[in-house]
């Protein structure tokens, strides 16, 4: 069974990469959308901000869809337990994602109710960003599980302080992604405002990250022996310090990469804390869903590995191609 363990580990890494890709990419468009009421004051500023994410958000959301599909394919028990167990929370995620998706298109075609659709866009994006972190926080911190791999808690079990801290950490990181993307894609007053938002969010992220790493090391003492945890801390704070310098030099292109770097650190720490668990049981470690007791068969894992390892580089290749088509500053009249 040595062989299947290798593939189970590979799939843990691949799903980690898919979720990280989702967090970084959809992160910036959720972030821009959530910051819309704060960054965009005039109508054309809002148009510019939405134009900066309009051509790419669709593709970004597919990282989540593929991540979900990959979780289903590699670890169906984890997919089944989390999605059914966190039922109401998942429904809220869906409602939030529906509103953020349609409200951009509705706003463009329905100027009379533009402010309503802007609220739906910002609210849906912020709620989704928060809930993703809360969900990840719960599966890492642990939830009550039954002997039949079913969730044993309630909706309110999900709202404990540690998972909520994860949620706030994720939201702060996503807002920073959004603000730094806005700096890169805009000019003039709007860019000045985005610089300011990036500065504030950098400090918020610094405070939240300290709390986050502290809670992780206290909750999972074994992390103190894990080199990845230290790498993660270095990534996050190197990113944040880089942000501080780039903000001082008004370097509009570097901020987004530094923000992403800092986000990768947060993710890496979560991955290091979680491995090899998928859903940690808070009521006894032998009840946890791990990559070893939740996976599909070797043949499925192998087939999927072939598809993913050939397919994802192609996806990344044409995604970069399309991003390059739309590089440069966004303009308010980019739509149609």
């Amino acid at each position: 069974m040595e062989n299947i363990h290798n593939f189970q580990i590979l799939w843990f890494i691949l799903i980690f990469v898919l979720l990280l890709g989702y967090a970084l990419l959809d992160g910036f468009d959720l972030g821009v959308a959530a910051l819309l009421p704060f960054l965009g004051i005039k109508k054309e500023e809002k148009d510019t901000l939405i134009a900066s994410i309009g051509p790419v958000w669709d593709g970004n959301e597919v990282w989540l869809i593929t991540g979900g599909g990959a979780l289903f394919a590699a670890f169906p028990h984890a997919y089944a337990t989390a999605f059914s167990g966190f039922y109401l929370a998942m429904m809220l995620v869906l409602f939030a994602l529906i509103f953020r998706a349609v409200s951009m298109e509705f706003r463009a075609n329905d100027p009379v109710r533009a402010s309503l659709w802007e609220k739906a866009l910002a609210g849906g994006s912020a709620l989704a960003a928060l809930l993703f972190g809360v969900a990840l926080g719960n599966v890492i911190y642990g939830v009550p599980l039954t002997g039949k791999m079913e969730y044993g808690g309630s909706f309110f079990t999900l709202l404990r302080p540690v998972p909520l801290l994860f949620g706030i950490t994720g939201l702060a990181a996503i807002l920073l992604q959004g603000a730094s993307w806005a700096v890169m894609k805009t000019e003039g007053e709007l860019q000045e405002r985005s610089f300011k938002a990036t500065r504030i969010l950098m400090w918020i992220n610094a405070i939240v990250a300290v709390l986050y790493f502290a809670v992780l090391i206290v909750t999972f003492p074994r992390l103190s022996g894990n080199i990845l945890f230290y790498v993660a801390v270095v990534f996050t704070f190197a990113g944040l310090i880089g942000l501080l310098f780039s903000l001082g030099k008004k370097n509009d292109a570097a901020l987004f990469w530094e923000s992403s770097f800092s986000f990768i650190g947060l993710f890496l720490a979560a991955g290091a804390a979680q491995f090899p668990n998928l859903i940690t049981a808070s009521n006894g470690p032998n009840l946890s869903l791990t990559i070893y007791n939740s996976s599909t068969g070797l043949y499925t894992l192998q087939i999927m590995a072939v598809i993913a390892l050939i397919g994802m580089p192609i996806v990344i290749g044409y995604t970069i191609f399309v991003y390059r088509l739309f590089k440069g500053k966004a303009k308010a009249d980019d739509h149609y």
Partner: protein, 436 residues
């Protein structure tokens, strides 16, 4: 109501609503590809206007489809977790493959199609149109694979623990119904968009709006409207034979056939009395047997071959199937009529014909929805035909109250989406190609 029934209602409602949009996406992507190819070849600005106009509509259609599609992917975990646990080995990889191979392609390049006209060269724009078309159809392929595997499972073994284990990926992908169902579904989407474009362009031409652009759009639409229902007749026939062969119970329900019969009748319309096990209506004697293999006396299996507990709701399957078939026949007649008018040069002045075109727009939707009801209700009580019952597939930890909440929310949100979609669709149509 119990949680199982609520979960089924929620799935039926959310999938039925979702399908309206991909059904328009695929055919619209086809017409955009045709128009953009003509634009590239003929260098005529009329085709650019048609493409840009349809791309605006596609933007609206696609976004509602994507927003309601993610609900479906979540729903296997949220509402059908026991199903997900049992079939993760096969169903999971198919959904993941759909994301990696297909949906990324469609979603990344649709951004270029909608926002890229001024940013990229005509050649790159054409490639984007091609890749949206290819990505959309690959996406449909994988989703049809997933559903076809539930109809005619293949390439698996059952483990000692009762789990489905994948043994042959290509056998699972190309299971006995995949190709038939893919062709049947794709043609349905092409008909849907052909009728949609005919309806819009027919309205413009009748009102004298948008001149040559509207006439060209109508011409493309009418040609597709003439061809696609005829192709569908062939694809549907082949699919029906396959259902008789691989899912005889569903086939029997479609025609309300209770006893295995040599020389089975085919109904034009009718009514099934499930209690008395009788079917009434207008029928062609021995028609079903004849269509099956061109032998009036071939044997068709009846419902009584299996225990009654394994029957689907017969009358519902019968009625939805016959509505779909009837609409298909109407499309053939109206499409050919349009082609004849085009051929004889009377199309642009045939106000009586143009008047009715916009009213046809909802009909292909009715046809594909009733087709899906036939396929999905006809599979009951199984979630995987012959292998797993729907009753054993629902999530065990999700309560009826929770589903009531989500169902009410979906109803309200989808009502809002529907109203907004129709309003904005009409608005874009009223602005027309000139605004592009």
């Amino acid at each position: 109501m119990d949680a199982l029934l609520l979960a089924r209602i929620q799935f039926a409602f959310t999938i039925g609503f979702h399908f309206l949009f991909p059904a328009m996406t695929l055919g619209t992507a086809l017409i955009i590809l045709i128009s953009e190819t003509l634009h590239l070849v003929k260098k005529d600005d009329i085709y650019r206007k048609i493409t840009d106009f349809l791309a605006r509509l596609l933007g609206l259609i696609f976004v509602v489809g994507a927003a309601t599609g993610i609900v479906m992917e979540f729903s296997f975990g949220t509402n059908w977790s026991e199903y997900s646990r049992a079939v993760g080995d096969i169903f999971g990889p198919i959904l993941a493959a759909e994301g990696i191979i297909a949906f990324f392609l469609e979603s990344v390049f649709i951004g270029v199609l909608i926002f890229g006209r001024k940013k990229v060269s005509p050649g790159v724009y054409w490639v984007a149109a091609l890749l949206v078309f290819v990505g959309g159809h690959l996406s449909a392929f994988w989703i049809i694979v997933a559903n076809s595997w539930m109809q005619t499972p293949a390439g698996y073994e059952i483990s000692a623990a009762g789990k489905v284990i994948l043994t042959d990926f290509s056998a699972a992908v190309f299971n006995p119904s995949t190709v038939n169902r893919f062709l049947h579904t794709v043609l349905a989407t092409w008909i849907t968009s052909a009728v949609m474009v005919c309806g819009i362009a027919g309205y413009y031409v009748r009102k004298g709006l948008h001149g040559e652009t509207a006439r060209t759009m109508l011409k493309i639409g009418i040609i597709l409207f003439a061809i696609t229902p005829l192709l569908q007749l062939g694809a549907a026939h082949s699919h029906a034979i396959q259902v008789i062969n691989t899912q005889p119970v569903k086939a029997a329900a479609m025609e309300g056939l209770f006893n295995t019969t040599r020389g089975a009748d085919i109904y034009v319309m009718g009514y099934v009395d499930e209690a008395k096990e009788k079917t009434y209506g207008i029928y062609i004697p021995k028609g079903l047997s004849f269509l099956y293999n061109f032998d009036f006396n071939s044997e068709i299996k009846g419902l009584n071959d299996v225990p009654k507990e394994n029957w689907p709701p017969v009358n519902l399957v019968f009625q939805s199937y016959h509505i779909m078939v009837g609409l298909g026949m109407i499309f053939i007649v109206l499409g050919l009529l349009g082609a004849w008018l085009l051929w004889t040069g009377k199309l642009y002045t045939a106000k009586w014909y143009l008047f009715w075109l916009p009213f046809l727009i909802p009909l292909p939707h009715l046809a594909h929805e009733t087709g899906w009801i036939t396929a999905e209700v006809g599979r009951q009580p199984w979630i995987i035909y012959g292998l797993m019952k729907t009753a054993n597939a629902a999530s065990v930890v999700v309560s009826a109250g929770e589903i009531v909440f989500s169902l009410v929310m979906f109803s309200l949100i989808y009502l809002l989406l529907f109203v907004m979609f129709v309003l904005l669709f009409v608005k874009i149509v009223k602005q027309g190609p000139a605004a592009s």
